[in-house]
């Protein structure tokens, strides 16, 4: 898609992320991440921006994206072709892990729980930091992982948002090169006070 625009793409990221074949590969990694929550799956290759590749794979004019911390530049937003919206009405939210969200995301309704938002959370690292223990569908027993660059407020609020299944939000943690998915069904235990 949009190959003519991609010619003048952001010099920070490779134009390949706008191509269909690249997005297919990225989606398969992303689907693995959702099927096996907690597993770190490499997404971007050299020269690619993970967040932008993830968004290019998932969003288009058919959904609403909120970028409350203005992390995307105008050009990339135009290339994504996504409808922008406020945080409380968005299908996809792009947030930084270090800054708690000021609004309440959509949780869906009992009849339509799929309308709960997907939060793309940028984190510093998925290899070190405070430990989390995960359990739930897609995890055989328990899964341990380390994340740094996430304000503990996110975990407290995630628990509240996901307290009434099937309502809830799904999260994708994005580091510089990899992703971890946390569907609403994943139960998360963490050491309080750790950052």
């Amino acid at each position: 898609m949009n190959e003519s625009i991609a010619m003048h793409a952001n010099p920070k990221t490779s134009p390949s992320i706008w191509q269909a074949a690249r997005q297919q590969k990225a989606f398969r990694q992303l689907m693995q991440a959702f099927a096996y929550p907690g597993r770190t799956l490499p997404l971007a290759e050299v020269g690619e921006d993970t967040t932008l590749l993830l968004l290019a794979t998932l969003v288009d004019g058919g959904c609403r994206l909120a970028d409350p911390q203005q992390q995307l530049n105008q050009d990339d937003l135009q290339r994504l072709g996504v409808t922008r919206s406020a945080s409380d009405a968005a299908d996809y939210l792009l947030c930084q892990g270090t800054r708690p969200l000021e609004a309440e995301p959509r949780l869906g309704t009992l009849e339509n729980p799929e309308q709960g938002a997907t939060i793309v959370l940028q984190v510093a690292s998925l290899a070190q930091g405070s430990s989390l223990t995960l359990s739930g569908p897609g995890i055989r027993d328990r899964h341990h992982l380390q994340v740094s660059g996430v304000d503990p407020d996110w975990w407290i609020r995630r628990e509240a948002w996901n307290a009434h299944f099937p309502l809830g939000v799904d999260m994708i943690l994005v580091s510089e090169e990899a992703v971890i998915a946390l569907p609403r069904t994943t139960t998360l235990r963490y050491t309080k006070g750790a950052r």
Partner: protein
């Protein structure tokens, strides 16, 4: 119109996997939400495919949204790789997805699209099973209004479905559902697991592979994530039963072709009117036959 006009090549050609990128992206978003809410029938805009609804268009749209160069696809219909539906879908994938391999061997496949069976060979984490679904909602037999069914699903209220099963037991001493047995996923949503036999239902439970179910006509996608509880709806005092393949002497019947006694069998009637039983999974039957021949050869040597 100019009779000599020809479409420019790039407009005449289809994109990889037939579906356009916007359609694929929507199916992909739906798949992720379906995994996040195990068993929930996630609505999506099912596209027109160049085949009739009911021929696996839902499964096919899921497969085409997933597939990419490097994948190996297997298509089965009632366990067989060589029936009309399977051959047609496989040919369509070969036609529209260059650089995608197809196979008949479960072991070699990364993507398996299936109608009415879960392959006999245990699935692995490296595989995805896509099931074609004709009727996604198990509640349709007790509640005609979809709006009300959605509320019932959300609340996890399956009392009327359980009443139907109870009435079966009262009338026939047996729950009379042979296939599409209502199955509860992760303790909340009850799904129609597509018309797989009862034999396959326990094999969804804690399966290492992701299972995606696509209903094209009803425009729904739902999922059984890996390592997730999948429990058939039963009563405490009436345990779930699978198909009984024992003969009058209580012996488990063997496949007439390969001799195995641990597979799901189809009942056939030969030209003389005799009944015989044969593996429903053709690849499993062939591999059993091949390994059996290997061992007889070893014995002969």
């Amino acid at each position: 119109m100019n009779p000599g006009y020809e479409l420019p090549l790039d407009e005449a050609a289809y994109s990889f996997g037939f579906l356009d990128e916007y359609a694929k992206r929507e199916v992909r978003r739906t798949i992720l939400k379906a995994i996040c809410i195990p068993g929930y029938q996630t609505p999506y805009a099912s596209r027109e495919m160049p085949m009739g609804r009911g021929f696996g268009t839902g499964g096919l749209q899921v497969t085409l949204s997933l597939v990419g160069p490097g994948d190996t696809v297997k298509v089965i219909d009632q366990g067989a790789d060589d029936s009309v539906n399977a051959v047609n879908l496989r040919k369509f994938i070969e036609l529209t997805c260059p650089k995608v391999d197809t196979t008949e061997h479960t072991r070699d496949a990364s993507l398996i699209q299936s109608r009415h069976r879960v392959p006999e060979m245990p699935l692995t984490e490296a595989q995805v099973l896509v099931l074609q679904v004709p009727y996604p909602d198990p509640l349709v037999v007790v509640e005609p209004s979809e709006a009300r069914r959605k509320v019932m699903h959300g609340e996890g209220d399956y009392s009327r479905l359980l009443t139907k099963l109870y009435e079966d037991i009262v009338q026939f001493d047996e729950i009379t559902i042979s296939h599409r047995y209502p199955t509860r996923i992760n303790g909340h949503y009850v799904i129609d697991p597509s018309p797989i036999p009862r034999y396959d239902v326990p094999r969804l439970h804690h399966c290492p592979a992701l299972i995606l179910l696509g209903a094209g006509r009803e425009k729904k996608i739902y999922a059984v994530p890996p390592y997730t509880r999948a429990e058939p709806l039963v009563f405490d005092d009436v345990p779930f039963r699978t198909e009984d393949f024992r003969d009058a002497q209580g012996q488990r019947r063997a496949c007439a072709r390969c001799g195995t006694r641990d597979s799901f069998l189809d009942e056939l009637i030969d030209d003389d009117g005799n009944k015989l039983w044969q593996c429903s999974d053709s690849d499993y039957c062939n591999s059993q036959l091949a390994s059996g021949q290997d061992s007889t050869r070893e014995v002969a040597q």
